[in-house]
């Protein structure tokens, strides 16, 4: 098996991972390796886009990471731990051992998806999901698009799709109007965010932004043809080509979990220096709690500095972190989920998309484990990443049994891993 040895291993090349890599590079001579599952750096928020120029902030950061003495391994998915100082990743040319002294986990977040009738129809996407696909080249010109779900991301997605020629019909935000207004008026404390919000508002001024509203079902024969919406007791139907629907974000904690980091309430537990309960293993950004890009950047810096023993310097960033965290808290509170969303699935609504397990089937079980063993819910390729969050919301189930490999791996690569771990015993 291929081997790479480094001092500081960083998993994730998004905001937190790049920020951590730079703070290590600027303050030490340590060898740094950044491993990411995407073909290019930037993570989800700064996902690369063909033929387009990135935001100046992202561009500056990515260029710095690419020019500094930082090794980058792209399109590599970490799937297991070989031993306390070695992780295993799968690349398109086989498995690779990643040996390290200190580890920084910056595995980011994914979207939360909630099931509603016919959400498995082709052309129903996640909100960030559709944006990511368009960045990968999917044309949306003149497509009629409904953006729905919850979170500040919906506005950014709508603006982006519109800039690509998409015909964004409306944005359905499930949060109540009063909650949203409280959040919007609170923005004066955050001039940078306020400016961003005003720019957004200007760019999508012709798109209705409906609070208190959500998609109740999708409709279509072979592909999506329309969605049904509801708002304050009123329901209506909108013909559309695409639905972009996401319900805020969830931390990616699978890797942290299988290497023995403590997880509390779906978040990786860290101290003020971003160190987990495993000494020498740090975690920064979304896995420690959804905080957005500002929190990710500052946590990345703190983790990087702490990993090279520069704790005094890391302390200088605590105030900045607290400030960024305040904004993140108000975001999370504004976009908490309303209970009615639990009533959307009907008997035949698929909840586990990998194994086609319906809501009706799941209702008869009492735990995620039982649903797994009896109905294969969460046993498919995504390993419960989609249905785990859905069943947690619908039934308050917890998936407590994350096991390696945390992503499907080719058998040949698994066999290699088996050989290596046995040899080292």
């Amino acid at each position: 098996m291929n081997k790479i040895t480094t001092e500081i291993l960083i998993i994730g090349g998004g905001a937190a991972g790049m920020s951590a890599a730079l703070s290590v590079a600027e303050n030490s001579d340590s060898g740094i390796l950044v491993v990411d599952d995407n073909p290019k750096l930037g993570g989800q928020i700064w996902r690369s886009e063909i033929g387009a120029i990135r935001s100046p902030e992202a561009k500056k950061l990515i260029e710095k990471v690419e020019t500094d003495e930082i090794e980058i391994l792209n399109s590599a998915q970490v799937f297991a731990q070989a031993n306390e100082k070695c992780l295993l990743a799968e690349t398109r040319s086989g498995a690779v051992e990643l040996h390290f002294e200190k580890l920084i986990l910056a595995t980011g977040a994914r979207e939360r998806f909630l099931p509603f009738p016919n959400w498995t129809l082709p052309n129903v996407f996640g909100a960030g999901g559709l944006q990511a696909l368009v960045k990968g080249g999917l044309p949306v010109e003149n497509k009629r698009i409904v953006v729905a779900g919850t979170g500040a991301l919906l506005l950014a997605v709508a603006e982006y799709l519109k800039s690509k020629g998409g015909n964004v019909l409306l944005i359905a935000e499930q949060t109540p109007r009063a909650k949203f207004l409280k959040f919007a008026f609170g923005l004066w404390r955050e001039p940078k965010k306020l400016f961003q919000a005003l720019r957004l508002k200007r760019n999508i001024s012709d798109v209705s932004y409906l609070t208190d509203s959500f998609v109740t079902s999708a409709e279509g024969n072979e592909k999506l043809e329309a969605v049904h919406l509801t708002r304050n007791g009123k329901t209506w139907r909108v013909d559309c080509d695409f639905l972009a629907c996401g319900f805020h974000l969830l931390p990616n904690i699978e890797l942290a979990s299988i290497i023995g980091c403590k997880i509390i309430n779906g978040r990786v537990l860290v101290d003020e220096f971003q160190e987990t309960n495993r000494k020498g293993v740090f975690c920064a950004g979304e896995p420690t709690g959804i905080g957005g890009v500002e929190v990710s950047l500052v946590e990345g810096r703190i983790a990087g500095l702490a990993a090279i023993g520069r704790k005094e310097k890391a302390k200088e960033l605590f105030a900045k972190k607290r400030r960024a965290q305040r904004f993140a808290d108000s975001l999370n509170n504004t976009f908490s989920l309303r209970g009615e969303l639990k009533d959307l699935p009907v008997e035949e609504t698929i909840v586990c998309r990998c194994e086609d397990v319906s809501f009706g089937t799941l209702k008869s079980y009492t735990t995620f484990r039982e649903a797994k063993l009896q109905a294969r819910c969460g046993m498919g390729a995504c390993q419960g990443r989609i249905c785990g969050a859905a069943t947690e919301f619908l039934f308050e189930w917890k998936d407590t049994s994350i096991r390696p490999p945390i992503f499907p791996v080719m058998l040949g690569n698994l066999a290699q891993e088996f050989k290596t771990t046995n040899e080292s015993r």
Binding site: D37, N38, P39, Q44, R47, I50, G51, I53, S75, R92, R110, E111, F113, T120, P122, N123, V124, F125, G126, G128, G129, L130, Q131, A132, L133, G136, G137, L138, E222, K223, I350, R353, C354, E355, D356, G380, A381, C382, R385, I386, P408, M410
Partner: protein, 97 residues
């Protein structure tokens, strides 16, 4: 020296992308270089990327390699996530269509 528009703002550079050609379900498809495999499949207006356990057609959903709905076979390797892999000239893709 970057060119500027009337307002003095920097003009956005327009880049013309080279096209690459790949084979999807025995048909030749041409997409801009840098597109994902998913984009190339969409260009064919497919019925399905994969068929679910119950035979439903599925398309990409999460767009970021988490949900595995966009799985196709690439150069003979099954279950590859088409949304995460860049299309390369000469690739052979098979969907469940």
């Amino acid at each position: 020296m970057p060119t500027k528009n009337a307002k003095g703002r920097e003009k956005k550079k327009i880049t013309f992308l080279e096209n690459i050609t790949l084979t999807i379900d025995d048909k030749i498809v041409s997409v801009p270089n840098g597109s994902t495999v998913a984009t190339a499949i969409f260009a064919r207006d497919p019925k399905a990327f994969r068929r679910s356990v119950l035979g439903e057609p599925r398309f990409p959903f999460c767009g970021m390699g988490i949900c595995f709905e966009c799985r196709v076979s690439i150069d003979g390797i099954k279950h590859e996530r088409s949304c995460q892999i860049l299309a390369k000239a000469g690739m052979t893709i098979e969907t469940d269509e």
